[in-house]
Amino acid sequence: MQQATIKDLKAKRRALWRQRFMENWRVFMHNPLGRIGISLLIMFGLMAVCSYIPPMIDPMYHPMTGVDPKVVSSVGPSWQHWLGTDFMGRDIFSQLLAGARVAFLVGVSAAFMSVVLGTAVGMTAGYMGRFTDTALMRLADMIMVLPTLLVVLMLAALFGQLSIWMIVLMIALFRWPGVSRIIRAQTLSLKQRPFIDAARVSGASHLRIIFRHIMPNVLPLAFLYMTFRVTSAIVIEAGLAFLGFGDPGTVSWGMMLQWVWKTGHMFQAPYWLLPPGICISLITLSFYMLGRAMDEVLDPRLRDETQAG
């Protein structure tokens, strides 16, 4: 083939993907939920990135170990401490920034792991069918009926303090069944579609059908569920930390709430109680809004425009 044609084709290919991305982006941004969600997330992302700055300015701003020597009990906002300090003189603002980092870490990694697991299980069950399907789905049912928070609490009580990574892993292990059910249903319906038959007639192996033909069609859905899973992971971690079963080595928003409560500042120090509480609500809300806007991108039926018939 001529060089010129190849170059031309490559340009066409790039144009196709760019066009596809722009189209989706346009639908996404067209949705007010998408716009609010993404701006909130950018804000939290900036907070997480900025969390490295205060300790560099002065070691007393370190969220865990930095203590202002001039402060002996919790004080309100000042120029030195924008949001005030906690009971031992640690800066609340830098704790809040560090909390954003932890929330992203916990939310995204736990959600990613549970979605990868759920998608793999769901696709296997849906595609293989019969015994494999039954076995995997009953396992999923069993895990699904367990109340995650309670089980993790019990495990935490059994093993003593859990590290943040153990918490992430446990959330992932307990939250995949929901994803796998949805992916399985999607796989089942995809398996019946004629393009799968067409791939078989073309000589595609089972692995190729799963990875080349089914996966691209379930991945957007899996990605969508990931945003909802992020929300639930953040809430579970916050709950654990608030109840005193968090990782004592990290500063998460749930942890901050626990300190407020444990030191009896619940109704005395709103500058301490409100910021982490509001942050938890807002970050879960923003991931939820992101998911809703993505839903519209993925499902053309939800778009408010139709073609002429």
């Binding site: 083939m1 044609t5 190849i6 031309d8 084709l9 066409k12 290919r13 144009a15 196709l16 596809r20 579609r193 004629p194 393009f195 038959d197 067409a198 791939a199 078989r200 007639v201 073309s202 000589g203 595609a204 192996s205 190729r208 080349r212 033909h213 691209p216 069609n217």
Partner: protein
Amino acid sequence: MSQSRENKTILQLERVSRFYRTRGNVFRGGGRLVVALNEINLSLRAGEIFGLVGESGSGKTTCGRLIVRLEEADQGCITLNGEDITHLKGKKLRDYRRQVQMVFQDPYQSLNPQVTIADSVAEPLITNKVGSPLDHMERVLKVLNTAGLSPAEDYVYRFPHQLSGGQRQRVAIARAIILEPSLLVADEPTSMLDASYSAQIFEILQGVRDKMGATIMFITHSMASARYLCDRIGVIYRGHLVEQGPAEQVINAPRHPYTKALIDATPKFGRAAEVPTYGTLLAAERPATTSAGCPFFRRCALAERLLCAGTYPPWHQVGPGQVALCHLLEDAAPAVNSG
């Protein structure tokens, strides 16, 4: 077509049957057995376009799926060039599918929505490990041109939803012929399309036969399309092949009452005077006492109660190369071989 090529049998179905079991449940026990195909005998000659005509649920699609081995026959034997392919597995099945390809009914469903046209069409090359990626693109462009999508460069990097139904079906045909199969099964390729696109699809299929020498099995519900495109026609009713013969003969001189009923029901488009009305269809179905009799007994206006309800009809030779499965053809000689 040369005469010698026409006579060589490429595909043969011998007494092929397929049953489905309806899903039972805990309370009713196992499901009922439904016959989708009942002892079908067919043979396709090299280089011909064979039309399989029937209504939905007649088993015509099942027949196509058995041939490309998306399903397996429960009884009987299918041979391609003398080789038994009824129960092939694994590598042998993959090799077989290089020779036999299929075009599906619904072009909106038979292309993966997440895969570009280029990748969809190249799929058979990739799975069968033919040539290099650069080779692939060259062949994809060539075959898209053959399928009437030119300039092909404009189509390769698009997604299926960016094409019209007619264009999608042409992409599906391109995918099916890229390995230059010797047999192509086209399952109602035009029934989901606008009438104006059908002629394009017919033209491409004729091109595939004439230029690539492929044999085509054209599955359709339309007698008019079958007349236009096919050399020979087989008419299928509820899993039973009831008449078979050269296209012109079957349409101009149908002998089985069901074939006649189909012709009666086809809109004539201004040519009603040239087609006789047969009136072989019973307005209301009559009850059948046994299942042993003629499959068309319930709806046949000509049926004789004793003969037709009681015994399965024999094949009659009703013209040169034309056979019909009916009791009421006294003038015709019993056919020795129905295939």
